[in-house]
């Protein structure tokens, strides 16, 4: 694609180092303060969706007084339309392990876990083999940092960090109240850093390139690049590493099929952007953030069907712990069906919008709080499709 206007980046899947585990070996020799300073300087924000500054998270856990601490890699990737963590784990697992070990050194953790969704269980043999080699290498560096893989069992909510801890501890994957936060009370109640797969890889590349070069990519609010999972109505679906902070119209120009009417940015819990807003929408923390999911829809698609599909998803995946989410998801789905059938007047949509807004305030965790994102952005931008 020589005429491409979007800058392609080759950080995540690019070369690790010329000799095996060199970045890790070099970094383990550095002082913790220097590593943290580089991370702070890089401006790296978490790639799991929420975008919390990584350096700050690590610093909080490093400062938490405890003899036992943990590093956890969140590989539960369940957001509809996201498949980049699978690709990262199968193509560059060494970078993921290295990022975890660097974190272990900085915060003073003795052990790392990868929480892998059961849908990706087929990766297990290869990852186990890679881990054996990793343990051998890191042993030679004089740093003891065992990493163990824990499998999920088919529950999207377990990607939420506190639900993930509950699941690893043998309980139902029901999110905890926050605060306290994982950096002081995480897995087994101990200080824990939990990061997305891609975040750990970014750390390694910042260690390799230095923060200055990393910062050349992206914008002030969204430093670096991002792995995007592109699917839907596109002639070229797949995984693409692009700079953060790009305008959506250029993205559509490159990935659309010439007839794109909407892009769902950030999966079912993200936002739907209609054609007329492509130009003014920036993909990044200053605009519409995304964990990487980009689903394109052309004019042959019914946005009612899209929303219905998302609401089915939320209704099934809600852990059911709090009423606004458990009942709210059901009511939203039933509500749009009733309007479509004509059992309810079009004005009922406004009531549903209010319900989704109150879920945003009253639901206990990010699942229930973010249903309103797709609900209101689809209903408000495609009202006719909801009614007729």
């Amino acid at each position: 694609m020589s005429e491409s206007k979007l800058k392609r980046v080759d950080l995540i899947f690019g070369e690790y180092s010329n000799t095996k585990y060199k970045v890790l070996a070099d970094t383990l020799k550095r002082r913790n303060e220097d590593i943290l300073e580089d991370l702070m300087e890089s401006g790296l924000k978490g790639r799991g969706g929420a975008g919390f500054p990584t350096a700050m998270k690590w610093k909080l856990a490093a400062d938490a007084p405890s003899d036992t601490k943990y590093v956890i890699c969140n590989a539960d990737e369940g957001e509809p339309g996201t498949f980049k963590d699978r690709e990262i784990l199968s193509r560059v697992p060494r970078k993921v392990f290295s990022g975890m070990a660097i974190c272990g050194k900085v915060i003073g953790a003795q052990k790392g876990y990868i929480y892998l969704r059961s849908e990706y269980k087929f990766l297990l043999p290869e990852l186990t083999r890679e881990l054996e080699m990793f343990h051998e290498h890191i042993g030679k560096m004089g740093f003891d940092f065992p990493i163990e893989i824990k499998l999920g069992s088919g529950a999207y909510i377990c990607g939420e960090e506190s639900a993930l801890f509950e699941s690893m501890e043998g309980f139902r994957g029901e999110p905890r109240n926050k605060p306290p936060y994982p950096t002081t009370h995480g897995f087994m109640g101990k200080p824990t850093v939990i990061n997305n797969v891609e975040t750990f890889v970014n750390v390694v590349m910042i260690m390799r390139l230095g923060p200055v070069q990393f910062k050349l990519l992206g914008t002030t609010d969204s430093r670096g690049s991002k792995v995007f999972s592109v699917s839907g109505d596109t002639p070229i679906p797949g995984i693409y590493e692009l700079e953060l902070g790009m305008p959506l119209d250029r993205f559509v120009e490159e990935f659309g099929d010439g007839d794109t009417k909407a892009v769902q940015v950030g999966g079912a819990s993200g936002f739907c952007v209609p054609r007329k807003k492509f130009k003014d929408t920036i993909i990044g923390f200053e605009g519409v953030p995304t964990g990487g999911s980009m689903m394109l829809f052309n004019s042959s698609r019914s946005m009612y069907n899209v929303l219905h599909n998302y609401l089915d998803f939320f209704e099934e995946e809600s852990c059911g712990q709090c009423t606004p989410c458990r009942v709210g998801c059901q009511q939203l789905r039933k509500g749009i069906v009733a309007v479509k059938k004509g059992d309810k007047k079009a004005g009922y949509l406004d009531q549903l919008l209010k319900l989704s807004e109150s879920m945003k305030i009253t639901a206990k965790c990010g699942l229930g709080q973010s249903v309103a994102n797709s609900f209101s952005s689809i209903v408000n931008n495609f009202k006719e499709e909801m009614i007729y």
């Binding site: 059961s118 999920g152 699917s231």
Partner: protein, 154 residues
């Protein structure tokens, strides 16, 4: 039927702490595709938990079935992008071949057909899992060949 030996082996491998519960439940599903009531009672005894606690954890997870499932569990992705690219025809093909509907198990207990949420293969949809193994880029013809192959397996 309880799998006392299986459960004892799993307990030996994973230990008796609460943290061991999920790996033990997963181990039972790996062996039998589901966890029976008597399995749960047995696990509760081994880990010194109440059966209700074991039941509570097991029933939370969609991949830990507490109902008998077939030897091969087919999970077809029903997320919007797979749906847009022909999921319905895939499900229909399987339903016709196995003579079951989504959610059912064949009388010979060989296959269960289920639908599931995003499998993480949206760029190569429609996609499905048969037990752990992913199959992507499905067409009715391709899925016909895949299922035929599984039918001829013992």
């Amino acid at each position: 039927m309880t799998n006392e030996h299986l459960i004892r082996d799993l307990v030996k491998k994973h230990g008796r702490s609460r943290v061991a519960l999920l790996p033990i439940l997963q181990g039972v599903v790996d062996a039998n595709n589901f966890i029976s009531d008597s399995d749960m009672v047995e696990i509760a005894k081994e880990l010194d938990l109440s059966a209700a606690q074991v039941f509570g954890t097991a029933t939370f997870y969609s991949f830990l079935s507490t109902e008998p499932l077939g030897k091969y569990v087919i999970r077809v992705c029903k997320t919007i992008t797979c749906d847009m690219h022909g999921k319905k025809q895939i499900v229909q093909t399987i339903e016709e071949m196995l003579k079951v509907k989504v959610g059912e198990t064949t009388p010979n207990k060989k296959f269960s057909l289920l639908e599931t949420n995003c499998l993480g293969w949206c760029h190569e949809g429609p996609a499905m899992l048969i037990n752990e193994k992913p199959f992507t880029g499905l067409t009715p013809e391709r899925v016909h060949d895949i299922i035929s192959e599984y039918i001829s397996k013992s």
